[in-house]
């Protein structure tokens, strides 16, 4: 690690003030991504602003419209939440398959979506359910939030405070994990979302994306067979030692099919 100032923020405004005044200051949530980055000397921030002391950011609540998850809610809390399980069980299921117990006990939804790792699970849930990201400044639709590889719509002094997921009809997430990291090689979230059927794919490309053809097919007939024959192009998909672009494209169809079957 390089040297840096450490500040434990007492409020979102305080944290926003620090990162707003200094481009080289950085937020810290669960630290599951950022601490290893620091340890490997891949980042040299001037100040690390710890959000763990900010009260009220980790709440999880449900009402008739849906579920709201505070930015600092840990994956384990979402996985174990009775409210989430009752309102959107697919979301609790997704959270329960992130990383390992240690990661789930530290990692946060705010950190995960702000980081926007192309293989992260949450982006599929946000886009798959048509969620809204609340920041200290505005509300951003999930479709507009994830803008590219490790890129989001967040500004430098913008902090995620919560994510609201509208209730859905049938919904499920299927993940084909990377054997080494257990992140998603391909993860597909299917849902009869508030605004229509959504199929969101993570892991396969540089950033989460929707598959319009599958959405249309499922809107017409909600069944695994409806998507079983729909292939997606391998062009532009990720390639690494664990999966070729072609394999990823193939897995999108298989996981979509299985997700629909799982959703019932």
């Amino acid at each position: 690690m390089y040297n840096f100032e450490y500040k434990k923020a007492g409020s979102v405004d305080e944290a926003a003030g620090i990162v707003g005044a200094d481009d080289e200051a950085k937020l810290l949530a669960g630290g599951m991504t950022y601490i290893p980055t620091l340890k490997q000397r891949l980042a040299a921030p001037t100040t690390v602003v710890d959000l763990n002391g900010v009260g009220g950011l980790d709440g999880i609540s449900a009402d008739g419209n849906g579920v709201t998850v505070g930015a600092m809610a840990r994956h384990a809390a979402v996985a174990a939440s009775a409210e989430v399980a009752a309102a959107i069980p697919a979301l609790a299921d997704l959270a329960s398959h992130i990383g390992d117990p240690q990661v789930r006990n530290r990692g946060t939804i705010g950190g995960s979506i702000a980081n926007n790792d192309p293989a992260a699970d949450y982006p599929a849930a946000l886009v798959g359910l048509g969620a809204t990201v609340q920041t200290n400044k505005r509300a951003v639709a999930a479709d507009d939030f994830f803008t590219g590889l490790f890129e989001t719509a967040l500004g430098q002094d913008e902090i995620v405070t919560s994510v609201s997921f509208p209730r859905a009809g049938k919904a499920a997430y299927m993940k084909f994990p990377n054997p080494a990291s257990r992140y998603a090689i391909v993860g597909v979230f299917v849902a009869q979302a508030a605004d229509g059927v959504r199929v969101a794919v993570t892991g396969a490309g540089p950033c989460v994306f929707r598959v319009a053809e599958m959405e249309a097919a499922l809107a017409a007939s909600w069944s695994a067979d409806a998507v079983a024959g729909i292939g997606i192009s391998a062009d532009g998909l990720n390639e690494d030692i664990h999966a070729s672009a072609e394999y990823r494209a193939h897995l999108v169809t298989v996981m979509a099919k299985r997700a629909v079957a799982k959703a019932g």
Binding site: R41, F176, P179, A180, S181, D240, I241, H242, V254
Partner: protein, 784 residues
Amino acid sequence: MTEQGIGAAVARREDRRFVTGQGHYTDDINRRGQTHACFVRSPHAHATLNGVDTAAAGAMPGVRAIFVGEDMAEVGPLICGWAITDVHGEPFRAPPHPALAIGKVNYAGEAVAVVIADTLEQAKDAAAAVEVDYGLLDAVVDPAQATADGQPQIHEAAPGNLSFEWALGDKAAVDAVFDGAAHVTSLEFANNRLVPNAMEPRACVAEYDAGSGEHTLHIASQNPHVHRLVMSAFHGLAPEHKLRVVAPDVGGGFGSKIFIYAEEVVLTWAASRVRRPIKWTAERSESFLTDAHGRDHATTAELALDSDGKFLAMRVDTTANMGAYLSTFASAVPTYLYATLLAGQYTTGGIYCNVKAVFTNTVPVDAYRGAGRPEAAYVVERLVEAAAAETGRDPAELRKTNFVPADAFPYETPVIMQYDCGDFAGSMDQALDLAGYSGFQARKAESKAGGKLRGIGFSSYIEACGVAPSAAAGSLGAGVGLWESANIRFNPTGNVQLFTGCHSHGQGHETAYAQIVADKLGVPYEQVEVIHGDSSKIPFGMGTYGSRSAAVGGSAIVKAADKVIEKGRKIAAHTLEASEDDIEFAGGNFTVKGTDKAMNIAEVAFTAYVPHNYPEGLEPGLDETAFYDPLNFSFPAGTHVCEVEVDPETGSVSIERYAAVDDFGVLINPLIVEGQVHGGIGQGVGQAMLEHAVYDGAGQLVSGSYMDYTMPRADDVPSYDVGFNGVPSPLNPLGVKGCGEAGAIAAPAAVMNAVHDALRDVGVGHIEMPATPLRVWQAIRDAA
């Protein structure tokens, strides 16, 4: 068997310490005035070193010293301790391996300079400021291409990137048998390269006492005395009596901590120069880049059978990747630890094996759990399974047809081994039972109904443990003897300290060795303490690897115990006023035959140290040392049966059942043995399905972290069914064979045979390790 003697499933006494964080590892050692080392490592796989500018770095805060290769010119290069004579009768090419690179770097991660500073962060800051002028060269990475014309040349002293070509067996005779064979099975495959991944990374703390002139090296080592010997004799760092090497608790080694690496040589040398203790602990990324890797063979193998399915001959051609330099025992692995096991459990008539050991721009490759024997077992067992499929025979039956029969021991193989004993067919039968072989077809049908492919695979492995009779090892090129030592020291109050030259880094010696002493001397198990790892405490010893600690180290303990009993008999006879011949020893008591006159061994010990009434001419004290040189290797063998289910849609393979029946001879502690089997199978499954050290064409390690290097996890393996069919070895006093590596030797072939069996139904003929989902899916698609 006593409650805590040989054969008792005693819980490991060391585990409480380990699982409660009370262990004491090298990195836990901190000395007053301690400094920290950070190595400047080459980011390039192949480059000339045009200059190393340390001026700016040297002026940075806290920096005590920066050394480059030329500064250490007086220190001899790292050595390879096993000389090979090649097919032309010439010595192998072992080009110089300086601890810090001189003139050229040959793999990514090779140390170019070391920075020693007051804090680790200061050392890292300064290391980043060392300016190295590299002249980039093309890299050679693929061993199969390394000797081809026009490839980049790594060492002047090794033209064509060839270290040696070596062969075992009579080629002409074997070729003739092949020409007339009814059936020939032929396979081409790789044995995938692995990263050892000990839980505790390599670490050392070097100290120099200017007053006494003594150097102390604390190091995560499997063989502290071997470290001391090599560092004294070859690197000239300090005479042996002025160099103390201490290996405290060590968190796993799997071979990777046998070797003498650059870091410990540099730190020991530098500590006397900066006059400060120096610590270095590998970061995980450094472990990936610089621990000696394992395996990495490319092999063509053929098996000739007659029309009855009898194995007539085997022909094997292997290219072994040595990496950029020959590591400490690298040359022995693809030769004497490999080709000598190609007979497997079978009566194959003739065997010829040719090995080319080549240099590439990758980290050196050396012994890793099994070292050569997993590669051999894979060759033999893949061939046998493929032959069974090709000739329409049941794979279990084909094996039985060819097993060395139980009455044929001692059995001389065509590849210079003499098997002492075994019951191969018995182990196979027991394994078939344990695996529920008769129910396999029903389970397969059930899988098929669910859209899955099910396969079963066997691995009837044999391996050579208890390395090794010194004379044999010496005649084959070893630079050292491979005996072991033990010192049993009674204290006046009757408790015992056992000093052993073996080293425990996860094996449970503190428990198992105490059981041997308790059993042989009748001392309560709790009163036996096992001490290892400190060259200034223990007698010279060769350390732990090659599953030698029971067969060789344990035998030394028995010999030392015999000496204790011999001396105790004299003391008891004197005290009990009987003749020595009339004294019997059992259960810790010396008894006058046919009487109830007896003396406990604790009383004998007290008498030995307070010799007021004592045999004339007998030395006081009860403290006996023995050195044991084994008569032969020992030959653990068995049959493992693996059952897998493949999801053809995704290519995922899951292991549904795994049965193992092993002959380890006598079991000292079945609980520990089972744990060793489990761990070994886990690593074998890792090799077969998950683990792969992948370099790209430029020599960059792509799988350089756990994000890309797949370690086996609990949910990757099933609950194992483990059974034993022990035939005591007649060649050592305990009748033991060794169990530390068997799982890792047997499992890859068992798993891959099962995968091939499952995929045969969809027309897939061949798949390489690791059988990842991508590969399996690709193979199914290519076959369709």
